[in-house]
Amino acid sequence: MNFDISSEQQILQDSVDRFVRDHYDLDKRQLLVLTEQGFSPDNWQSMAELGWLGVSVPEAHGGFGGNEIDTMILMEAFGKGLVLEPFLASTVLGAKAIADGGSEALKTEMLPGVVDGSRQLTLAYAETQSRFDLEDIITHAKSDGDDYVINGYKSMVSHAGSAQQIVVSTRTSGGQTDKDGISLFLIDADAAGVEITSFPTVDGQQASEIKFEGVKVSSARILGELDNGYRLLNALATAGILALAAEAVGAMEILYKDTVAYTQEREQFDHALSDFQVLQHRMVDMFMEYEQCKSLLYRATLEVVQNSVGAQRSVHALKYYVGKMGTFIGENAVQLHGGMGTTEELRIGHYFKRLLVIDAQFGNSDHHLALFAA
């Protein structure tokens, strides 16, 4: 048994930590939030040059050929910096969809651009009625010769406004909530009939609502198997959950450490706040839950990498626990910072908001608790 990362992974970790330290303080980040894209094209290019955008792309297509552990290292560091660039949407979800489900021709066409940063992808899976159920899909694709015609609506799609291609879950047969009859397509964002409306999210990121009206797409753009796309969709959700949980763990570390530091500086009643035992115990609880989240993160990530029997359950456990404890740690970081914690001026509020959104992405804690218990 060994929980140490390899020397190659250590190099990756050092370089991503340095990147976050150099490029992400709160003021710089909040300026990026206000831009139309919502992130820095320069940072994106740097990420490409450092090889991170191809971390999970096979070496044959110019990538790093890494696994979920490499992604975890990157995402945890991104979580510490509240990084805005669409790494999750494009590399973790989009590139994986093509790498795992695309034809060789499609991989050759698409993946090099993802790796060099010129192509940005995203995944559109949620619908207005679906809440957290991946299989609840109304958007449908109808066969039309060699093509398919797509009609429907996708909601809360991360960073679709700056993406060139969108992976879209559609229904090609079966009923609205059947796991069979789902097919994934890779659709050009600028295709006729695609209407994208973008808006900010509370955590300073970008999302879009997307309408598909008679959008024509070639059958060569099917990812995974026709009618059997749920497997790939669920694998993408799993990859997304692992990445989000790693990001959350990074954010939690900042929150508990900032709180420990602040309570030692701030004096009330002629004492540092940290002298008060009730606050000490609260911070110990925050720290403990951070460590427990990290343990579940390692557990689920390693089980997914090794394709273990219990991997799916561990992923549910992880998302449940990270959602619940992210809120716990965030709320207490704010509480222990007092009035200052409720302002936009300190960074903790921004980490807290990110953790709130992470809880809602790919199913909240209640949703995954129910799946775990089922």
């Binding site: 207005t128 809440r131 909601s155 900010p200 009643f269 704010v334 509480q335 936009e344 807290f352 209640d366």
Partner: protein, 390 residues
């Protein structure tokens, strides 16, 4: 003991309902005009515009049950917005400690909602440790005025306030609770600068207020010099009772159920989800208990007792309940709670839900943080004293 409403109480309830229904806001009419008229009509009912004021000062002289009925009915009806600073926080201090001239000068404008007040208590280094405040007030040699310099923080709506009631330090000798003086200061004057503080929900409600050599006539001092802490403590007890908001929470819970019933989940709605239902049920049980804790507190207040340390229970429970309602609203919104900005996305309640949740994080901080409330209960109710170290 008896919880049934008497015949008289039922008649009162009916009267309140009729008043609220007859004077509800009508869409398309002038809101500001309606608001001031509403308070006028409420005043004509016999002090319904200042329900918590003593009869001597124009209040209605209601029994605890009548107060409870009023809270219940106004929580579900549409009533005009109102601010607590002058009405519920300053007015009781003026009534107990102000002189007659001050009462006549300030109370009518507060009652008529003509003048907005804000509260100048907290300072950057005096939060939970409020008595640590440093804003200096120096009495002139001729004894006619104070010169006030210092910084107040978290001043709610200072940017629209006409006046601020302020705790200032007039002496550094003795315990820090001594030497605090309660002053009334007009906001619109040179030497007062209001800087906005933007909070997590993106809203501007609180401010930093800098006072630089602001001259305050001694006539604007409430009570004696150096006794302000005692007056403020009574005021904090009023503030804490007012912050519990139980009737509003009961109404908010009903609203939450309605919202959850709009959220589709599988073949049903979120209300069919056993874990969500259980959370709503737990919340409701806490509310049922806290509602009666409030009633018990109201009943003791009716016997002439000032709201005492037991009001701390209400602030703690009440604000935690409000936060849980907000949290469950965010959960009901699901991923749509993340949407921000002016464009409507998904469930319409979801965005307001996130905003409300983020704002609600301050409920357990202001008016005495929950940790402080527990200290107060431990000390004053449980009687726990610090032991001498051995």
């Amino acid at each position: 003991m008896d919880i049934d409403l008497s015949g008289n109480d039922l008649a009162f309830q009916q009267e309140v309902r009729e008043f609220l229904a007859a004077n509800a806001y009508k869409n398309g009419t002038d809101y500001a005009e309606w608001r001031l008229n509403w308070f006028k009509l409420a005043q004509e009912k016999g002090g319904w515009d200042v329900t918590k004021w003593p009869e001597k000062f124009g209040g209605p002289g209601w029994s605890p049950t009548q107060h409870y009925i009023w809270e219940q009915e106004t929580a579900i009806a549409q009533t005009p917005w109102d601010l607590p600073f002058g009405l519920s926080m300053l007015a009781p201090v003026l009534m107990s400690h102000g002189n007659e001239e001050q009462q006549q000068r300030f109370l009518p404008d507060i009652r008529d909602r003509k003048v907005n007040w804000c509260q100048g208590y907290s300072e950057p280094n005096a939060g939970s440790d409020l008595a640590n405040l440093k804003t200096k007030a120096i009495l002139s040699e001729d004894g006619t005025h104070y010169t006030v310099t210092g910084t107040k923080i978290w001043t709610t709506l200072a940017h629209i306030a006409d006046w601020i009631f302020c705790l200032t330090r007039t002496s550094d000798s003795g315990k820090k609770q001594e030497g605090i003086t309660f002053l009334l200061i007009p906001m619109k004057q040179a030497g007062i600068e209001v800087k906005p503080i933007i909070t997590l929900g993106g809203a501007h409600t609180v401010n930093m207020v800098h006072l630089t050599d602001v001259k305050v006539p001694v006539e604007n001092r409430v009570g004696e010099e150096g006794k302000g802490w005692g007056y403020a403590k009574g005021l904090l007890a009023h503030e804490r009772t007012g912050l519990a908001g139980i009737s509003k929470s009961l109404a908010a819970l009903e609203n939450l159920r309605k919202q959850a019933s709009e959220v589709k989940r599988g073949n049903g709605t979120l209300l069919d989800d056993p874990s969500y239902r259980a959370k709503l049920a737990e919340l409701e049980i806490d509310l049922l208990a806290t509602e009666f804790t409030e009633l018990r507190s109201l009943a003791s207040a009716a016997n002439g007792a000032e709201p005492g340390p037991e009001s701390s229970i209400l602030k703690l429970k009440g604000t935690e309940i409000q936060q849980r309602i907000q949290k469950l609203t965010v959960e009901a919104g699901g991923i749509y709670s993340a949407a921000w900005g002016p464009m409507p996305v998904g469930h319409l309640f979801a965005r307001g839900g996130m905003q409300g949740y983020l704002s609600s994080r301050a409920y357990t901080i202001y008016g005495g943080a929950s940790e402080i409330q527990r200290d107060v209960i431990a000390k004053n109710v449980l009687g726990i004293k610090k032991s001498q170290s051995k």
